[in-house]
């Protein structure tokens, strides 16, 4: 039996082919170092375990960093310092929060459904972690390279809303019940535009596998223009649709209706305390990571570098560099916008996002039919596609906000 880890030191730091460089292969090498000596079926099991542990550990620590970052950024945007008492610049705040959450009493209402009340946070977290498994974080970094990983992702993602409903129902609290109602309505409304926004990508990449979708975006036109889907008219529209709908999927402001603080106190979280509450919190952040990660994978080129010579930077770094601005955007929006009302939320989905996503499907079909057009025809192709994207947006946007406008006031 060979010991593959031995070859680790013989690799060049920068290779002619970026896929061969040491930093790019480091995750694989590390894995082989740990499990290479095991016999085959055991090795597979150990590899899977390593993938699971790595995913959970990395995202749990990202969650800790993110809670601190969110509070700091929100604080700055709201012209206050944010947490700054625990450790230098408040960096130990997540630790303090964790200890607090763990030592708090876990209160279950006497009339609550004890089993469901316990199950809800666990299933929510489980499904959130499942969604994280299929995203390719780097060239060699994908937990589970499924054939139909796109379908898998959305199936697992939709199941998280079920847990929110479970929590709301099991708490036997009227606010929680209203939140559960809202969560279901939101799920039905926003799962559709979310999926429809992804279909063009699947059409153009002709694969349901995330890794192949990333590979389809891995080249550069004229040697410098990345062929990411977001740089096409249909891809740009799809990205915006996907990202808007993912705000609703992740229960983030301005679509955070299930836990609308000023109306429903804490919505489905009203009757949760201590560690169960922390689990909900964690799962929501995991959902946000997963949706941002998929947005990066589907539209922003995944782990591909923006310019050819930048491939010497490892792919997972590029993934992170694309992920963080999206996460920052989540915080930024949260600090800015008021919340929609429930009927406006559903109307926004059904009358605006879904029709636009359907039209975008047609745009993508046109785009894939006209791949052969070149020269001046290329300009015509762009013009038609841009019109197909912008035209409906303007028309339907006008209809959506009819009757809502700033007013002039008279004086006595």
């Amino acid at each position: 039996m060979t010991w593959p880890g031995l070859s680790l030191f013989s690799l060049p730091l920068a290779a002619a082919n970026p896929a061969d460089s040491f930093l790019e292969r480091a995750p694989l090498l590390l894995r082989d170092l740990l499990t290479g000596a095991l016999p085959d079926p055991w090795r597979w099991l150990a590899n899977s375990l390593i993938a699971i542990v790595a995913t959970v550990v990395v995202f749990a620590s990202l969650f800790a960093v993110m809670t601190l970052a969110e509070r700091k950024v929100l604080g700055r945007m709201q012209n206050r310092p944010g947490p700054n008492r625990t450790g230098p610049f408040g960096v130990l705040q997540p630790l303090a929060d964790g200890i607090k959450m763990l030592t708090k009493e876990d209160i279950v209402p006497r009339s609550a459904d004890q089993v469901l009340h316990l199950l809800a946070p666990i299933t929510l977290l489980a499904f959130s972690i499942l969604t994280l498994a299929v995203i390719p974080y780097g060239r060699n970094l994908v937990g589970l390279d499924l054939d139909a990983s796109v379908l898998y992702f959305f199936a697992a993602g939709a199941a998280t809303e079920l847990s929110v409903f479970m929590a709301g129902w099991a708490s036997r609290n009227k606010y929680a019940l209203l939140a559960a109602m809202r969560a279901l309505a939101q799920l039905i409304s926003y799962e559709l535009p979310l999926l429809l926004a992804v279909v063009p990508v699947v059409m153009l990449a002709s694969s349901l596998r995330f890794t192949e979708i990333v590979a389809a975006q891995g080249s550069w036109a004229w040697g410098f223009f990345p062929q990411w889907f977001v740089f096409t008219p249909w891809g740009f529209a799809g990205f915006l649709l996907f990202f808007t709908a993912s705000f609703a999927e992740a229960n983030r402001a301005p679509f955070d209706l299930p836990e609308a603080e000023s109306e429903l106190i804490a919505g489905h979280l009203t009757e949760y305390s201590g560690f169960k509450y922390a689990l909900f919190f964690m799962a929501e952040y995991f959902g946000m990571f997963a949706l941002s990660g998929v947005a990066v994978t589907l539209f922003l080129g995944g782990w591909n570098a923006p310019l050819p010579f930048l491939t010497m930077v490892p792919s997972y770094v590029w993934f992170a560099l694309k992920l963080f601005p999206l996460l920052f955007f989540f915080i930024w929006v949260r600090a800015t916008f008021p919340r929609l009302r429930m009927d406006q939320l559903t109307r926004f989905a059904w009358k605006f996002l879904v029709p636009l996503a359907l039209i975008n499907l047609g745009t993508a079909a046109f785009w894939s039919l006209t791949t052969g057009w070149s020269g001046p025809l290329q300009l015509v192709r762009w013009a038609i596609a841009v019109t197909l994207v912008v035209g409906p947006f303007v028309v339907m946007g006008r209809r959506l906000s009819a009757g809502v406008r700033p007013r002039q006031y008279r004086y006595a």
Partner: protein
């Protein structure tokens, strides 16, 4: 039971009872512990889905016998108690009470004191409306940012109050026949600085959210109050003017020296939540004009009538009602004197309490999310509602 329920006073017809076809109504007690009831206030809400079919405001949790206390203390000793009515706006409460007592005793007020009172009242209006705008946007879900910006500006005004009266919120500043202390030139310069910067703060604040589509969609057309209902319920203040009724006591009574000042009264046309928000923003801009003029024209002289008597103050028997345009509406004090050191009857006319009575009419047929911002736009302070 009639098949078609009678429309409510606000014209919205709602389903009155549970029946098998429509399913059950859900009764929720919002408050007294709720993030957006602005204190210990409770709304007993009956919901059909998310639509409100019945809303009963419940208050009295903060009742502390204010009016009876007023009968059992001397006139002057009631002044600090008025601070605690609407604890955001102690300066205007003081002024309204001082006006009532001055009417009762026929007590004149020096010119400088009248100017100082107008300056403090308009600063209070800025403070109150800024807080309200911040809280209203917070209630509509804007996650603290507008509120924090509003509180930053409020703090500047509170610092002015503290420098002048010794207390940020419980100012206890007015006396019968003038003000307690005079404003120093340094204080006036500081006030001028705050007033000068306020316009640009309002621009910044409005740039953040006033034209925001979500905010407009949330507030336009929700919580409509008709002028007829507003007048019948004796609603006053920005709430009334948002319905388009031109009634501002600063113009109607021209109390103090308001007749000398140039300012306009903004009027709404729809009476909805957006109008109530915008009227306050526009009123703040008018207040800035009044403040600029008052600070420019402030005359020299005493701030207290030298003949005014504070200790052993016994107005002759009679009655008087003094009122001013407070930031929330007409705040008035009704006093009956029997010639003794204490008033025989001491009655407060609180704007929040009267304005709150039409809450159900504004909320019927709206959703629970709207009820929260409608309550926010009414602008209540429970210290004043419950007294």
């Amino acid at each position: 039971m009639s098949l078609f329920p009678a429309p409510s006073p606000s014209g919205v017809s709602v389903r009155p009872v549970n029946d098998e076809f429509h399913g059950d109504l859900l009764e929720i007690s919002m408050g007294p512990h709720h993030p957006s009831t602005h204190g210990v206030f409770r709304m007993q809400v009956t919901l059909d889905g998310e639509t409100i079919v019945k809303l009963k405001p419940v208050f009295g949790y903060l009742h502390r016998n204010h009016e009876k206390l007023g009968e059992n203390t001397t006139y002057l000793a009631s002044m600090p108690y008025t601070d605690r009515l609407d604890y955001l706006n102690s300066m205007t409460n003081n002024w309204a009470y001082a006006i009532a007592v001055e009417k009762l005793a026929g007590q004149p007020v020096p010119e400088r004191a009248e100017y100082l009172r107008i300056i403090l009242a308009e600063l209070t209006r800025l403070l109150n409306h800024t807080c309200l705008a911040g809280f209203l946007l917070q209630d509509s879900g804007a996650m603290g940012t507008p509120l924090m910006y509003a509180f930053r500006e409020r703090e500047k005004i509170l610092e002015l109050f503290e420098a002048l009266s010794g207390s940020r919120m419980m100012c206890n500043f007015q006396r019968f026949g003038g003000c307690r202390v005079d404003a120093s030139p340094a204080w006036l310069a500081a006030a001028q600085g705050v007033v000068d910067a306020y316009g640009s703060f309002l621009d910044e604040f409005e740039a953040l959210l006033t034209g925001n589509e979500i905010l407009m969609a949330r507030t336009q057309g929700t919580g409509v109050l008709t002028p007829q209902l507003a007048i019948n319920a004796s609603v006053t203040g920005p709430l009334l003017r948002a319905t388009g009724v031109d009634y501002d006591i600063r113009k109607v009574d021209a109390y103090g020296l308001y007749s000398r000042f140039n300012f306009r009264v903004p009027l709404g046309a729809h009476g909805d939540t957006y109008d109530r928000y915008m009227i306050r923003i526009l009123e703040m801009r008018e207040s800035i004009k009044i403040l600029q003029q008052a600070l420019r024209e402030l005359p020299a002289g005493p701030v207290m009538d030298p003949k005014a008597k504070l200790r052993g103050f016994r107005p002759k028997a009679g009655e008087a009602y003094g009122r001013i345009e407070g930031p929330k509406g007409e705040i008035g004090f009704y006093l009956i004197s029997d010639g003794s050191p204490n008033p025989y009857r001491y009655r407060v006319r609180p704007p929040s309490f009267v304005n709150l009575t039409i809450l159900e009419d504004m909320c019927l047929g709206q959703t629970i999310a709207d009820a929260v911002i409608i309550l926010g736009s009414v602008d209540i302070v429970l210290g004043e509602v419950d007294r």
